[in-house]
Amino acid sequence: MRRRSDGRLSVAVAAVALLFAAPLLYLLLQARDAFGAVRDADIGAPLGRTIALATTSAITTSIVGTALAWLIARTDLPGRRFWRIVAPLPLVFPSFVGAFCFLAAFTEGGLADDYLLRPLGIESQWRIEGFGWSVVVLTLFTYPYVYLPVVARLTELPASIEESARSLGCSTRRLFGAVVLPQIRGAIGAGALLVFLYSLSEFGAVSLLRYGTLTRSIHQSVQSFDESSAFALSLVLAACALGVIALERAWARRRGRIESTGGGRVSIRYSLGRARIPATVFVGAMSALALFGPMAVLAQWAWRGVRSGSSLHAERLLPSVTNTVQYGVIGAACAVAITLPIAYLIVRHPANVIGRGANAIVTSAFAIPGLVLGFVFVDLALTDRVPEWLYQSAPLLVLAYVVHFGAQALRAGEVVVAGVPRRLGEASRSLGVSGIRRFLRVDLPLMRSGLGAGAGLVLLSVAKELPATLLLIPSGEGTLALRVWSATESLFYAQAGFFALALVALSGALTWFITIRPLAREGRL
């Protein structure tokens, strides 16, 4: 019985892997003429910058994301009901918009300079650019990749171990290091890997911060109409992704797997004591830099524009909101559902070759820049081998989202499946409940909040995605992010500010509904 259902799982995983492999294979075929040119071109420097940025950002987001998750989910931080909604939100800014607003808010001559520092007689000398600032900006806008899975994991941990440790006189600090950290390491690693992959393919922010990574070379190839060089260069990014996956696997094997029962008990909340004030300042400062500063810029744009008579084009708001919700929810649901079998296979059968291959393919697709994936899908849709209705259709765009962001759902799924104790499956099997029914009645309820975190990640990513959406969205439709970008590009700042604020509000509401409310309802957050 067990063998048969495992066999079916492998077949399902192989089918999903094929779906993800198709665009990568196409890239490989189209890029083969350009490999020579890429080898001859000097990509060493931009590649080095890319890897330095991705590695550093993965480390900084691990620290910031975990700290925020711990403070908000597990301490008596003042205002945590507010922070738990606010903390994931910086992820909603399309990186170009986020960086543009960050610059407008904090750089020399920016909003903070005009309204905060100059009245105080301080002359800001911040020139925001280069490696250090790129790390800062990426950290601010991507720490939710770590924060969300860690929060989900923290709220699933059984209180019993921590209670025993405490009754044995273990201090909170030691308890975090010795008891909690080993249990959330997998979630931190999963999040850090997402940040690494995201940073590989990131272009909008680093180009504004004038830091020349490999994605700039890719965009320059496109600017020169050289599709195959762009493809070849993005395969270099995919190779980086494969490398880091191999490292991660090796690390995970060495550390072994820690299973813990989820659900049931309300987690312990620790008292911050004298650390309350610095902790609140830290959480507030992060939100000020990553969310409220940029939002103040957007609000200023909207207000200033309205005052001088610019149109906000409010009539475009409702259709844009509808499109954003549609694609966000559908993309997230599809990505979570499609990658769940892979998560099962790689957690339950780590040595299975199909599972490992599928994991590598799905994960490396995240490192391919959205622009390049957009190219691939347009190219594919324009050949005679696919039905014509697929060209510029909604299902193709959803497929692109699933391929691009499947890795996020998969990482979350992996963390979730690892939290479902295997003996539950054995118990239900002994009771004669097996296969799909066991999955629906036993596993799925246990995984709900974790899957919600994964869906929330994908949803926020879809809501802010720009280049692939721009190329693939059906004519006449437009997401909020597209509207923001388009309006910014043509300097309709009032409209850009208005739509970006709508995007933040909408994403906040959706994240609350999908990710936070399930946790809160169970009394865990």
Binding site: Q220, S224, F225, E227, V329, Y391, S393, I473, P474
Partner: protein, 342 residues
């Protein structure tokens, strides 16, 4: 069993919703398909007007100039767009040089002067823009304003100039310089900018203008209309357009263009109707009033652009077809000059 149904429903809803989206969003059936290199906010109102007036169903995507050209360059067969609208002549000329455009005919195009359309009749200008240097009036004295774009390599402008080197308009400006002053002169200019610590903002003229407004740089090489648009939103912004001296290549006139693609032959009459619409008084007035560009036909009242009307500008004449032919080689020259180095 109940949970099975519940989860079944939850999984089916997205699938059904996707199918529903497919039913309403499918492509291929439109009367006219357009790739626009121009920004959506600038061109969509005109397209909506055209649809209302003609009763035709128009589908538009907005990939941007270079992305559109890169997508179209390999296209074969009749799938794909019928028309391409470009924000600068280079991308259009590039497609033309690669044999992707069909000849246009129709009397309406005669309204456009010869110098504002392709010599081979493969594309026509729809609006004009002038290259300018925008400066921050708080940080720049009037005596510091350069007469020629070549002045910007002088030491007094060190670290004070911003460009968008990956933007199609900047590439076309450099090609114009190569045509008018020769390759050596253009090469020296780019290397001089690089040595003078020019700051490159990638593809974004908007980023250049924002940097000038903040005082991050004092001068920015952009198209003329950015400043007027930004000041419409924020009248207090201390940015001012400056035109280089008469005949200087720094103030060359560039065009937005439209051309009929090979894949658009089956929709030729709808395409030509749309092009006529773009060149009508109504649309030309729209460009003058809303996008703050110069019309390409006579008799349109030009709004407030800050530097007067097109006929008053003594801009150098460039063979626009060359901008497409040399687009790739100019890109190479820009990349190897070091202006995008960091």
């Amino acid at each position: 069993m109940r949970s099975l149904v519940k989860w079944g429903v939850r999984l089916l809803v997205p699938v059904a919703a996707t199918a529903g989206l497919a039913a309403c969003g499918g492509g291929g059936g439109a009367d006219l398909e357009i790739y626009s290199g121009r920004n959506r906010d600038l061109i969509e109102p005109l397209i909506e007007r055209f649809e209302a007036e003609s009763g035709l169903d128009v589908e538009v995507r907005y990939p941007g100039d270079s992305t559109a050209a890169a997508l179209l360059i390999d296209s074969e067969g009749d799938r794909g767009p019928d028309l391409f609208i470009s924000q600068s002549p280079g991308a259009m000329g590039f497609l033309d040089a690669q044999g992707h455009l069909l000849e246009l005919d129709g009397d309406a195009f005669d309204r456009v002067p010869d110098r504002l359309r392709a010599p081979d009749g493969h594309w026509v200008g729809t609006s004009a823009r002038v290259r300018v240097v925008v400066y921050n009036a708080n940080n720049v004295e009037p005596v510091e304003l350069p007469d020629s774009v070549f002045d910007l390599v002088d030491s007094e402008y060190r670290g004070r100039v911003g460009i968008a080197a990956d933007n199609a308009s900047f590439v076309d400006f450099v090609t114009s310089m190569r045509e008018l002053e020769g390759d050596d002169e253009a090469q020296r200019f780019l290397e001089g900018l690089a040595a003078n610590d020019v700051r490159d903002y990638g593809t974004g003229n908007d980023a250049v203008l924002a940097a000038v407004a903040r005082g991050e740089v004092d001068f920015g090489l952009v198209n003329h209309y950015y400043n007027a648009r930004a000041k419409a939103e924020d009248p207090d912004q201390p940015t001012v357009n400056h035109l280089f001296a008469a005949g200087d290549v720094g103030s060359v006139v560039l065009l937005t263009t439209v051309g009929l693609l090979q894949s658009g032959d089956d929709h030729r009459s709808a395409a030509e109707r749309f092009i006529e619409f773009l060149l009508s008084d109504e649309s030309q007035q729209y460009f003058a009033d809303e996008t703050l560009e110069y019309p390409v036909v006579d008799g349109i009242e030009v709004g407030e652009t800050g530097i007067g009307s097109l006929s008053e500008i003594d801009a150098p004449t460039v063979d626009l077809a060359r901008l497409g032919e040399e687009f790739g080689s100019t890109r190479d020259m820009i990349e190897s000059s070091g202006v995008v180095d960091s």
